[in-house]
């Protein structure tokens, strides 16, 4: 069963090598001798991570909670981590935080920037942050009172959002809506991964 995940699909051993070498970050204890692989070493795939961010009170904790398996844990003030079991061998961690942090966002496959329709300006800083980072992001207007007061295009304009960045609406309290928003992000990450997308436009300082 060595080299196979619990569902029988191959574990990406080459990829693991890549983590070890190119980042020098994963120092697994050296495998001693020829004994059987332990359960830990025969581990599942590395977990994935998505960042859920936006201004305070925008619904990050609500979003992470609604789609996670169990209640998220709070690692520090205003930072929640939720876990979603996508497959038996593949976990997704959701990091809900208002603070941009290169260390915390490292390795994320993307970010959802939540926008409060009554306070769009709260999202400016985070959008600027992601425009300058390598982490793909989409923007989702959390519809607190059930309906948008303006057309989505008007929000795009108000947010000065690049036309290529997906803009959508969501209901952070609704697990299906939160899951659909995450799907949009992953689809977007897939799309830009294939083409050689141009860097984001320069933002005047």
């Amino acid at each position: 069963m060595g080299g196979r995940g619990v569902d029988g699909t191959p574990i990406f051993d080459e990829l693991r090598g890549l983590f070890d070498e190119s980042h020098g970050r994963v120092d697994a204890p050296s495998r001693s001798g020829s004994g059987p692989r332990t359960e830990a070493e025969n581990a599942d795939r590395p977990p994935a991570k998505i960042v859920v961010t936006g201004g305070r009170g925008v619904g990050k904790t609500t979003f992470v909670t609604s789609v996670s398996d169990t209640d998220p844990v709070t690692v520090k003030a205003a930072t929640d981590v939720g876990r979603v079991t996508l497959h038996r061998d593949l976990l997704l961690y959701l990091l809900g935080t208002a603070e941009p942090s290169q260390a915390a966002f490292a390795g994320a496959l993307g970010a959802v920037v939540l926008v409060d329709p009554r306070r769009v300006e709260d999202a400016f800083a985070m959008i600027t942050y992601f425009e300058r980072s390598d982490v793909p992001f989409i923007v989702a207007v959390n519809m607190f009172d059930g309906e948008l007061r303006h057309e989505l295009d008007e929000y795009r304009e108000a947010l000065a959002l690049h036309p290529d960045v997906p803009l959508t609406t969501c209901d952070a309290r609704n697990p299906e809506s939160a899951a659909r928003t995450l799907q949009e992000l992953v689809s977007y990450t897939m799309n830009i991964g294939g083409s050689d997308h141009s860097p984001p436009p320069e933002v005047p300082v």
């Binding site: 990406f12 990829l15 693991r16 890549l18 983590f19 070890d20 980042h23 970050r25 994963v26 120092d27 697994a28 204890p29 050296s30 001693s32 332990t38 359960e39 830990a40 070493e41 581990a43 795939r45 590395p46 977990p47 994935a48 991570k49 789609v67 844990v73 709070t74 690692v75 520090k76 981590v81 876990r83 979603v84 996508l86 497959h87 593949l90 976990l91 997704l92 961690y93 990091l95 260390a103 915390a104 490292a106 390795g107 994320a108 496959l109 993307g110 390598d134 982490v135 793909p136 697990p175 299906e176 899951a179 995450l182 799907q183 992953v186 689809s187 990450t189 897939m190 991964g193 294939g194």
Partner: protein, 118 residues
């Protein structure tokens, strides 16, 4: 679960980590930790915080959950877990660093998300 007394928390944690803030390993919130070969004698010889981490990691657990369950700051958990890893007593699982560029795994993540909520 053991809760650790938070008496003179800062001083205690400073002493524990020897003032080190930079761990030798890059440990993210989602990085999974486990104990490959549990050793009760080793556990008994550890300081309470490290012992609590070691015991919790007998079942594979994330850095975020370790920090939250023991109410030990993430930065301190990083240093203590690094020390345990340096002694080969815990296994630091790889993280999905290149998933952003891996179409096959992204497809699988998408597929999992489409089946939510279960």
């Amino acid at each position: 679960m053991d809760t650790i007394s938070m008496r003179s928390n800062r001083i205690r944690l400073y002493a524990l980590t020897g003032g080190r803030t930079r761990p030798r390993h890059h440990l993210l919130v989602e990085t999974l930790i486990s104990v490959p070969h549990y050793d009760p004698q080793f556990s008994a010889g550890l300081l309470p915080e490290s012992r609590a981490l070691y015991e919790l990691a007998r079942k594979t657990i994330s850095m975020a959950e370790l920090s939250a369950h023991l109410t030990i700051p993430l930065a301190v958990v990083r240093v203590l877990i690094s020390d345990l890893a340096a002694q080969d007593m815990v296994f630091i699982h790889p993280t999905g660093f290149v998933y952003q560029y891996d179409q096959i795994i992204l497809e699988r993540i998408l597929d999992g998300l489409k089946k939510l909520p279960v």
